[in-house]
Symmetry: C2
């Protein structure tokens, strides 16, 4: 059996996770987390909070916005237009598939992300790609929008979507959160919560889900003050930069942050800071540094909002290098979309120490051309353009041929540019955004795979003690002589301390150790006859199977210290030397 | 300004919560939680976990199941048929309203829950109820299903719903969770997560939401062993039992659990246990015992799955007595629904100590009648009926006229009953379920309203220290003489300890205290000139404004002890004597 199969079997049998709605044959893309999986997942989320929010609480806050949001939000964000996959339908059996996946599987071609419907359809015809289920002919390739759609309230025209990312909640609340945190940049807004992506035909168990938990942070900063004060430029990143990806060479280079920034491999300091943090966080889950890397996405592979993306990937036994987080340089793309769609000015104002003369490019709407192309929406386009930074409009029109503001695409003909000199007391600007974004379920799986060990024919889940679901197990050596009562006392004391503990009195002591090792309980506390004499118990380490004796009175504190903060205190010091 | 207005104003201004999608005019029924609100909400959720899960971890586990579930789940649960409100549409302006609300507002009538579409339509005609928006005539009353509907994957016929309660996740996973927790009853399965209810026209801000966080627990037990071993029958409940509700007398009686059970006011011990726990939990949020009570729901007001329901209500200034939790006796209703719809046997087996002779009622399917009424589904009905406990089928047919198993309703003609005597070695039965279910957002609001105080013209949010969003604020008395640097040191030490702390150096010290009091920061730490001499700081209590000096070295521990566990240690002991 492969490691992946063993982990999945363990996950099902001991209650970490399994396919949802099993009673009804299961629904692919949805997972249920059982008691142990839920504890593990929560602890991974807490660890993420520690690394991304709590450590940075001077400038990062966490919020919570709804999963369902109105049509306009995802129209402004570009998801209604761009959040699509290519789908192909079998003309014989009617089944639907992701076009690129079917082509890749049957032809060995790769790098299809940039192709159009027509190009993909041609490949299907030329290469004779057939339905993977029934062998029937496939129809033309079409776009399929991955947003889960619903109606809000009793009016069916009142369309809403389940969010595919938490990020839009941070953008739509940006101005209010900026105000309540006293108008300071940099400002990080984080969110941990469910998102939904209506994948066409998800497989790969816990890896590709239609509903999953995102842990996401949008860091807003002044593009003219891009320095990240908490960044250590001496840190080393394992990167596969764009130029290597373009040559299909996926071997990483190891570079200092300083070098990566100087060589332009990473677009901004904040992105680099969160990539460094991501490496540490994932390492802290027990996934070694050399089993992780960051792979750049080529322009045509990137999400529509990003001008640079690195995927943090970890090596998994069955699925190869799998993305566990994405690091996107979203610039001002999203805020300007919401400005154009809502008509609100989301720029921030920064007072300057003194009046200064500045020279800047102004983008002036060409009203006639805009009227012709945008009709009734022309005023919204004109007003939005007036708030846009001219340099950015010029830059994007020059590089991409158009400038996107939410649902509006503005071309060269809609705008004229003029360099102006003026004396100003302050600046108004749209903040830039760097985003790290993690999927919790994949991390649960990856953490379990990396913790999986076998020893003397037994399974041990060597989870880091601070993410282990059950923190200690209490075992009476035998079920007589007052040992069960004593053990129950110890169990209750640990429970009162707020620890997650189990009491197990069934079967031989060896079997009970094995049962605890398999689910990663870091410490096993055995109550034996000596306990009744001197008030000490044995504490056994899951990974080394070594044992020490520890007074009952010290137990709650030493266990808590060990499993919550990974320091060993008292008797445990000896155990973990 | 009313207290409610003041709390809402504070919530918006300081960033607790506000209406979602404000940029786009807001969407009623959806809330955004800002930085402070999110912290408060998380701490309330953690407190719920403490009271309901952690304290009972020997028999309660927490799981996580998806928000979106397939059609079959909610067909089996009865939500497709029964989870509806009555809606009425204005024939002039086209707006849609909840029929009972419009009638109540315009006629003063109440207790409309049990009426049919036709009866409500008659009242509208007779009483001349008009559109509350434009005064136009109203059309006929119709049922509106409150499930948010979507499609899973690319096939539009593959209907899915966003769950309106977490409970179905516990029922569909019951057999697996029962297995992985080693086949023991009682078993509590808890879940904290988002649910969606597509209300027709929600108002009342944070009180009636279309998307909210449910904190729910399904306690499965053997109906023949209904004893709750952790229940203290001497505890007192404040109840408005059904007979009072029926007479529209909502004054509570105070009864011991023992009496409530003996008089049949509460249906089972487990329900009573969670009601007692609910009282303590809500009290622990700062809502006094005498501002809470449990109001019984009359049969026609109850959810379709419940044979007894008590709403725990708390007194709010504007909205009167508002439900913060529901306590439902769900019996075997849900599991038998899923048995009938899935064809799986979800009964549990209990070995008896010795063979015994039992006499029981068997429900025998009348196959011909079932074929006639259920057509192609007859085999499913016959098979399901064979697994049902005969006593229950008989009981419900006698009391309600039918027996419901998921989507199937079986009447007298479909079943015959026979008393049989047999010798058995074990029993197979469907567990009964008692359910406490809380809404987190309402508790956030209620907690804030009860914490709201005014003193000397200033606002103080006297939140219990262990739910206060910010745990301490660090203030340099003046911005010179090295005080800011020292204060930053103290701030960083508290941050490293994992505390949620703020640093504030702007404005007078009085103003900074006021700012902290308003958001409920329990402790303010001031660094002054004496700090530079002897290493002590002042610690100020939010509620009494008393101050004591405390050595910096003790701070992290004493603050943590105080805000996490509400014990005062060291210098704080003096402060809170």
């Amino acid at each position: 059996m492969s490691i992946a199969d063993k982990v999945m079997e363990l996950a099902r049998r001991r209650g970490f996770f399994w396919t949802s709605a099993e009673l009804y044959g299961g629904v692919s893309g949805f997972l249920d987390f059982g008691p142990l999986g839920k504890l593990l997942k929560r602890k991974i989320e807490e660890k993420w909070r520690y690394w991304f929010v709590l450590r940075n609480q001077d400038f990062v806050v966490e919020i919570e916005t709804p999963i369902i949001a109105p049509y306009k939000v995802f129209e402004a964000s570009g998801h209604v237009s761009h959040f699509t996959d290519y789908m192909v339908e079998c003309l014989k059996c009617g089944r639907k598939f992701r076009a690129d996946h079917v082509i890749e599987e049957q032809t060995g071609l790769s790098g299809l992300e940039g192709l159009s419907e027509e190009q993909l359809t041609s490949i299907i015809v030329e290469k004779g790609v057939k339905c993977p289920e029934c062998g029937g002919h496939l129809g033309g390739v079409k776009k399929f929008n991955l947003l889960f759609k619903t109606a809000i309230g009793p009016y069916s025209e009142n369309v809403g979507f389940a969010r595919p990312e938490a990020a839009q909640g941070m953008f739509t609340t940006f101005n209010r959160v900026y105000n309540v945190t006293r108008n300071k940049l940099p400002l990080g807004i984080a969110q941990v919560g469910k998102v939904m992506r209506n994948e066409i035909s998800p497989r790969q168990g816990p890896i590709r889900l239609r509903e999953f938990t995102i842990m996401e942070l949008e860091l807003f900063y002044d593009p003219q003050e891009p320095t990240c004060p908490v960044l250590d430029r001496g840190e080393v990143l394992r990167l596969v930069p764009e130029e290597r990806v373009a040559k299909k060479d996926l071997t990483p280079i190891e570079v200092t942050v300083d070098e990566a920034l100087k060589r332009g491999l990473v677009a901004c300091e904040w992105l680099a800071y969160f990539m460094v943090t991501a490496q540490k966080f994932v390492q802290d889950l027990g996934i070694p540094w050399d089993k992780q890397m960051f792979v750049a996405k080529l322009p045509h592979e990137r999400a529509h909002y990003a001008s640079q993306v690195y995927d943090q990937v970890v090596k998994l036994e069955r699925w190869g290098w799998v993305e566990v987080s994405g690091h996107a340089f979203r610039t001002d793309y999203d805020l300007r979309g919401h400005m154009a769609s809502s008509g609100e000015d989301l720029r921030v104002y920064k007072q300057l120490p003194a009046e200064v003369e500045v020279e800047e490019v102004e983008a002036r709407p060409v009203v006639e051309a805009i009227k012709e192309d945008f009709g009734a929406e022309a005023p919204a386009v004109v007003n939005a353009l007036k708030l846009m930074p001219g340099e950015r409009v010029l830059e994007e029109i020059q590089s991409k041929g158009f400038f996107e503001m939410g649902k509006f695409r503005v071309y060269q003909k809609h705008v004229s540019f003029e360099k102006v000199k003026k004396v100003v007391k302050g600046r108004r600007f749209i903040p830039f955004v760097a985003e790290p974004s993690f999927g919790a379920e994949r991390l649960v799986y990856a953490t379990m795979e990396y913790a999986y060990r076998e020893r003397e024919g037994r399974t041990i889940l060597s989870l880091p003690p601070d993410v282990a679901p059950i923190e200690a197990v209490v075992l009476p050596l035998v079920n007589r002589d007052g040992l069960p009562e004593k053990a129950m006392e110890v169990y209750n004391a640990l429970k009162l301390r707020g620890l997650v503990v189990e009491y197990d009195d069934s079967g031989s002591i060896g079997r009970r150790y094995a049962r605890a090792d398999e689910i990663g309980v870091p410490l096993a506390i055995t109550i034996d006859h000596q306990t009744m004499e001197d008030g000490t118990v044995t504490v056994r380490d899951r990974d080394t199977w070594r044992q020490v004796r520890c007074p009952i009175s010290e137990l709650p504190e030493v266990i808590e210290a060990y499993v919550k903060r990974r320091e060993a205190k008292g008797a445990l010091k000896e155990l973990f030397q």
